[in-house]
């Protein structure tokens, strides 16, 4: 979707082209670190940092990067910011860094970030690129927070460490284990697909984002 205004550059990353829920990118961290809200927040912060930093650099220096080496350069820039984020997180919040483990470093292979550089930051001015990065990062965070909340509340009975249900709640432990990650995201996507399908029965198909329900929308068109 082409952003006509700066605001659109920002909002489309948040909802319409939400990287996790619509484009289905960056699933590895979305499933792995969402077993608690605190971890989701930390991972979102690190990812936003990397997104903003690399979008800014790529956009600022886009004139100087020859076409042939552009991907390698983007990856180098992204890897640099990820290394910085990793070391900073380890220094500032060592316990959370230990929980996130290798997944902070794995931000570098998150297709979402490279995709943003290739599709947007390398072609747009710095201000727009930053807005786009911020929007994408925010969309990513929303998805992660949503999953983290569901998994922590159901699987541990807590939210950010604070008990939600009281003493007698028997936590649904599977939610904080790997299957819980798959199930939570699956349920969220199913619900989203159902909502989209319902709304679609009232509006034209043209405006719909790709992704969930795409097959159904193609059939209805």
């Amino acid at each position: 979707m082409r952003a006509r205004t700066p605001l659109q550059a920002f909002t489309r990353g948040v909802w319409r082209e939400n990287p996790v829920l619509i484009q289905l990118l960056g699933l590895c961290p979305a499933l792995a670190v969402t077993n608690s809200v605190a971890n989701s927040i930390a991972m979102s912060a690190a990812t936003i940092f990397v997104l903003l930093g690399s979008s800014m650099l790529v956009s600022a220096f886009k004139r100087w990067v020859p076409h042939d080496v552009r991907i390698s350069t983007y990856i180098l820039v992204i890897a640099t910011f990820v290394t910085v984020a990793d070391m900073s997180l380890q220094a500032i919040a060592p316990e959370i860094h230990k929980e996130l483990g290798a997944f902070v470093a794995l931000i570098v292979v998150n297709c979402m970030i490279l995709g943003r550089q290739e599709a947007f930051a390398s072609k747009r001015p710095v201000s727009r690129s930053l807005l786009d990065a911020l929007g994408t990062g925010l969309g990513f965070s929303i998805a992660l927070l949503l999953m983290g909340s569901v998994r922590e509340v159901l699987g541990n009975g807590t939210f950010l460490g604070y008990s939600v249900f009281g003493q007698n709640f028997e936590p649904w432990v599977i939610m904080v284990l790997p299957p819980g990650g798959f199930l939570t995201l699956g349920m969220i996507l199913l619900v989203l697909g159902w909502i989209q399908r319902r709304a679609q029965e009232r509006v034209t198909v043209r405006d719909w984002p790709r992704g969930v329900g795409a097959a159904a929308s193609r059939k209805a068109a």
Partner: protein
Amino acid sequence: MNATKNAVTSADGQSIPLSVSPWRLVATLGGAGAVAGFLIVFVFGATQPRILAYKAKVLAAAIEEVLAAPEHYDTLFVVDGNLVSDLPNGADPATAEHVYLGYRDERPVGFAVVAAKPGFQDVVRLIYGYDPRSHRVLGMLVLESRETPGLGDKIIKDSAFVAGFTGVETPITGLKSGRKEDPTAPGAVDMITGATISSRTVIAAINLSLERLAPLMEAYLADGGRDR
């Protein structure tokens, strides 16, 4: 057309990349690499002190807990079947196995050793305190575990289980709860119901570690505690 643009637009709107000299490619990557390297080294220098300080703090806290608060401790290394306080030249401290000797009132209290063994889900890493003179474990603390939450992770959370290791004689045997004939049996620890494998892992980790290291620890103390 901008001189630094690296593509031209053909008549039908396609963007055709101009061929660029290899030197330019190398220079770009080199330049990017240099900036990247500078940034990373800078942040590394800024963060390393804090990271190392935190690791030292965690280690000190763990040793304090398993050796009942010694005043200070020596770091020893396992080299060629001996415990030594200085590494031979050229040996890398990061790969050598560490053992810690705690002191109170200038007298050795006991050794703190890190042990690890695959458990139910993944490797369980723990630290335990040991006194070679009385052949007793002084304390146990699980450092890392991925055991099942609610079941296996009781090896961390069940304080009765953890306390069972204080003062236990070695080698340790694990007993299923309720089967201990003599509750004060010196070499036995009650295992956690529903987490037998995780409990057994902790016990086996300590036993195996002691099999290997207890003679070294005894020899070190016998040598007067200052092995050069």
